[in-house]
């Protein structure tokens, strides 16, 4: 192979590159779009498209059914469920999506030691973390907001009250935006802690489900023993109940807590602060994680 190769290469000759070099901001944007597309398997193998696309479809089907029912049933004036309730009832699908895609987004680069190749280029740690975080949050937002869009369009087709529907839709969007940021942060931190993809998947599922199970159980006990004052505080300790609390307090949602004992506006402020604190904390944890992952 050697003699052939060298003559061939010599004949072609080396062409130098005089075109534009678009620098950090462009590289960050490219990494964002590559990661976002990657979360849905685009630009990856056919096999890796199956799960995210399937979850996306499963996420949208109930919304389509709700819309169909709303249009078909004569005399109905509102959708059977609220915009803000949708993400809570489909939280398992959201969790599976995050658990399957967050590790592929960050664990891969750590496991195959690709991270130094990024940091030997114009982009820096903050660009990498911001691009990955934004991509994961956007992927979750697309997953959670699309059903809401379907429901909203359906409600307009069914000629429900426009102002009421649009207000509910807007509240739903704010809620899933917060949920996307919170879940993406937690998922990426869990995934970045281990270069092993399997551990990452398990850790994310554990972080989402175990606290939820525990919180729901304790709330159930508190409710059945008549200790309703404790219920609104318990919700602080799991990601999905945190979102539930915030949207119950501020976004006109109906709480899924036992007996609908969602937090009042005062306690809701605590919920909001904890949620924002976790988002900022996740970002800081990721920054700290990649300080050591350089060359």
């Amino acid at each position: 192979m050697a003699p052939d190769t060298s003559t061939q290469i010599h004949n072609i000759g080396y062409r130098s590159y005089d075109g534009p070099r678009l620098g950090r901001a462009y590289a960050r944007k490219s990494l964002f779009s590559q990661s976002l597309r990657g979360a849905y398997g685009l630009g990856r193998s056919a096999k890796s498209k199956v799960l995210p696309m399937l979850l996306f479809a499963v996420m949208c089907v109930p919304a389509l059914i709700i819309v169909a029912v709303a249009i078909a049933v004569p005399g109905s004036t509102d959708l059977p469920i609220k915009y803000t309730t949708y993400a809570l009832t489909t939280q398992v699908i959201i969790g599976l999506f995050l658990a399957s895609q967050a590790p592929q987004s960050v664990s891969r680069d750590l496991r195959f030691k690709t991270v130094p190749l990024y940091f030997s280029r114009p982009i820096e740690r903050v660009d990498y973390v911001v691009a990955k975080y934004a991509a994961m949050a956007s992927a979750l937002f697309i997953l959670t907001a699309t059903p809401l869009v379907i429901m909203w369009i359906g409600s307009l087709l069914a000629k429900f009250d426009f102002a009421h529907q649009t207000k509910g839709f807007g509240q739903g969007l704010v809620s899933v935006l917060l949920l996307s940021l919170l879940f993406a942060g937690l998922g990426l931190v869990m995934a970045a802690l281990t270069p092993r993809r399997g551990f990452g998947v398990a850790a994310i599922i554990a972080v989402l489900l175990i606290p939820f199970g525990a919180v729901t159980a304790v709330q159930g006990i508190a409710y059945s023993t008549g200790n309703t004052g404790a219920i609104e505080w318990m919700g602080l300790f799991s990601p999905i109940t945190l979102i539930d609390g915030v949207q119950t307090a501020f976004l006109g949602a109906t709480s899924a807590f036992p007996g609908g004992e969602g937090p009042s506006a005062g306690v809701g402020v605590v919920y909001l602060l904890v949620a924002l604190g976790l988002i900022v904390g996740s970002y800081a944890a990721l920054m700290a994680r990649y300080r050591k992952a350089g060359l």
Partner: protein, 329 residues
């Protein structure tokens, strides 16, 4: 023009001094950076890329200060790490295109440059297959391609011949040579083998314990390292083949080193012959054939970095070799 300049550059970790007042001035061309493991080679590369601040001293790459212009330096410099850094589930093309975009190349340019660069490093049809199925040699080529794809002015290659078989090693060294001669890109290449660098580099810098041990053009090293190791068998007419060959070679006017090494079991000792040019090989071959003994091996000695240390530290076989060489010449 200076490509890399450092001025009493030091890097101290709490318990280790990785670089100790290192001053270098490296011009265009292929420069070898030789040092044992832990000599400070990788630390130097990190500082040159602007990723790790120096404890004291200063460094400039392509005339840009590493402290203040890290991002601008990294845009014009390519880096090939020592370790594996390739995801197995994407093809070489996809991976290198992505890395080109991370270097700031627009999408179309990234694709064109990727196709060009992969061809230059010798990857053809296989570049569309996932990297997981590549041989070590092919992976090294992909690693080199991602360092070259944005047409840098300088590439830093960390142990590019690691893990390659002798043929792959020679191909890689040829490729490195061409990066400068054909592509016009300056190269800093590290290795712990002085022998392979002296054939490829214009200039060799030797570091040890973070200190500069020696910096000189390769011709200075060549006279030490063109030592031939010759091992022969004994025969009925020459019960001690090695001694007979030593006598015959001395008569033929070839200088031999004083020392001998133990050869393979069953064969004799190894003679160390000073090679002054191509004709020395012929003379050795003819002499052995005339004596009617078997030639077990005749090989160029690859000098390990340790011998350079001995050279500086204490009188040793290497010094004797050098003395013998100059006496003979």
């Amino acid at each position: 023009m200076t490509v890399i300049a450092t001025e009493s550059l030091s890097k101290r970790y709490p318990r280790v001094t990785a670089l100790d007042r290192l001053s270098l001035d490296i011009g265009p061309g292929v420069t070898g950076l030789v040092g044992a493991n832990g000599a400070g080679k990788s630390t130097l590369i990190k500082i040159l890329l602007g990723l790790s601040p120096a404890t004291e001293g200063s460094a400039a790459v392509l005339g840009l200060d590493v402290r203040t212009h890290g991002s601008a330096i990294r845009e014009r410099v390519g880096y090939m790490p020592e370790h594996d850094c390739l995801p197995p589930d994407v093809s070489a093309t996809e991976f290198v295109v992505h890395m080109a975009r991370m270097s700031g190349l627009p999408p179309t340019a990234a694709r064109e440059r990727t196709a060009d660069t992969l061809r230059h490093v010798g990857l053809y049809e296989e570049r569309y297959r996932p990297i997981g199925g590549y041989s070590t040699g092919m992976k090294q080529r992909v690693k080199l391609a991602q360092a070259l794809v944005h047409d840098p002015q300088l590439v830093l290659l960390d142990e590019p011949t690691n893990g390659l078989d002798p043929v792959g090693r020679d191909e890689m060294l040829g490729l490195i040579r061409r990066i400068h001669t054909d592509f016009g890109i300056s190269v800093l290449v590290t290795s712990h083998l002085l022998g392979e660098l002296e054939r490829t580099c214009d200039h060799v810098v030797v570091v040890d314990g973070g200190k500069l041990l020696r910096s000189s053009s390769t011709s200075d090293f060549t006279q030490i390292t063109t030592t031939l190791a010759v091992e022969v068998t004994d025969s009925d007419t020459h019960p001690d083949g090695t001694a007979a060959l030593r006598k015959a070679l001395t008569e033929a006017g070839i200088s031999l080193h004083v020392g001998e090494e133990q050869g393979l079991p069953g064969a004799g000792h190894i003679l160390l012959v000073e090679a002054t040019g191509e004709e020395t090989y012929d003379t050795v071959r003819d002499t052995v054939a005339d004596l009617g003994i078997g030639l077990v091996r005749m090989e160029q000695r690859r000098h390990h970095i340790a011998e350079v240390f001995r050279d500086n530290d204490q009188p040793s076989p290497t010094v004797q070799q050098k003395g013998a060489g100059s006496d003979g010449a």
